[in-house]
Symmetry: D2
Subunit: 162 residues, 4 copies
């Protein structure tokens, strides 16, 4: 089933009032969209953050299938998204709109300053597939690499990858 | 400091490239916005979900100060938001736009069907203060009350409430 | 040039502060995206509105090239989008997310109740290509067919089609 | 009637399927929100554009009532919003989020590069009250002052102001 058909069926259920929460095949469709992604774009121009995400991705995704995946970053200052109501979402949409990624991984602030960070995995049209959250850095005090690593693992684990 | 001034300072830092992540006083401002809320609206018309959230809120917030808080739900079918790219966000904005809540608590799907649920706490203009995530129900298999309860506790705990 | 490359160049100009407004080739790229669309989805389930838009589209687009265009509507109650901050945009995103349209045409309320209507033409990822506005119906008092017709013609004319 | 109550009634009508388009009192409520605004923020740091908007506003609004209106601009580089899917909307939200404006006037690109400009008038929570559009500058070739002036006049005229 294509994701457009899965969304259409869910929308029809919601319209008819008989939607009973997420279905196994919907979660599976999200998993396959991520596992089968050939062209992955990380919505950052920060080499350190990019390397952390790329290494974990190749470790997790490659084990699941052969290794002809392209993982690239974007060379734009995505901090501009910090002047929006949901920085992480707008960072992801920058990557969706300037590339032909199968999936985009974006990491940034959740909402207002002080609201901590969020990692989102989005598909080729900018739809949200999964995500994860971290408290504000002044609270969790972990280094950036560990934080990004656990965010990515959480975002994949919650839909059954790894 | 008012939240508008806190946001302005953070935006200026981002523009000048000297933003170094969330500040303690920004997290504290979010905490105070939630702890001092007199009028709290839960973006649901589902009595069961409303009761779970209200009970936990009054337990947590009341301990912190006296108890003249109003917690109410909305009597609109918020499932309509399921036909948007980020249902939880649009549910919250419905409550923000039809009430004069100091804070709104919304819970709904994160993104596409199968992407699991998210709880958001938003302020009077619809800005995101904090949030939390749960995997799709077909994966975590917990009952709705326990899920909502842990989502709310997580959303408050990550900014130091409780 | 692909639209992703055009967007990337414009974003780079904005980042470097040397963006000087829309370029001729950007407007031309939008025109070609619309004129070359094979699969057009109208974000409505209302037969009357659908017919008005379809007839004008085929009249305008067909003249420009041969006539193997598919124009279809969606069979979902898009009124659910009226419970969002920008109904017309969310109507369009419903059509983008449940179809593989090359372009989507959505028409709905601009903002709060009383703010009049807007027509948007969006591309396959949900990006806005062009649009047009009408005053609230209580003010302009024209019938729906004439209003939709002039909105569509305005949205196309402002980027040089027709 | 407060705007939250007007929105709630309209949302209920949409839920019950008996919404028949914008009502006169809804348009009047928008008019009053604009005419009674004491604190108006223009979402630009460009002195030239600011002056054009301020002069027309004071001319139109002042005639309607006495002249203790504050009209101010913001001192942030709002071009950052050009790296979002709807620049004009995100520019307006920057002004809403860093000020306590009664209304915000934002002007910027409608959508993708080449899509021309839009002017939006938003309320204190960031809701859209009215707006207007101009074709891409390469097409209309008018100077910026005339364009901004006619956009503002159109946005006010379509809801019966002036």
């Amino acid at each position: 089933m294509k994701i457009e058909d899965s969304i259409k069926r869910a929308y029809e259920e919601s319209c008819h009032g008989n939607r009973m929460g997420d279905k196994k095949e919907e979660v599976e469709l999200i998993r396959q969209t991520i596992l089968n992604a050939k062209n992955i774009v990380i919505a950052t121009n920060n080499p350190k953050k990019f390397k952390v995400v790329k290494d974990i991705l190749l470790e997790i995704l490659d084990k699941e299938k052969n290794n002809n995946i392209s993982v690239s970053k974007i060379d734009l200052h995505t901090e501009v998204s910090d002047l929006t109501r949901m920085p992480v979402l707008n960072k992801g949409l920058i990557a969706v709109d300037i590339s032909n990624a199968d999936i985009v991984i974006a990491r940034g602030r959740l909402g207002v300053p002080g609201s901590g960070s969020m990692l989102l995995i989005m598909d080729n049209k900018g739809r949200i597939l999964t995500g994860s959250l971290s408290p504000p850095s002044v609270i969790h005090k972990r280094n950036i690499e560990d934080t990004v690593k656990s965010e990515l693992i959480d975002a994949l684990k919650r839909i059954g990858i790894r």
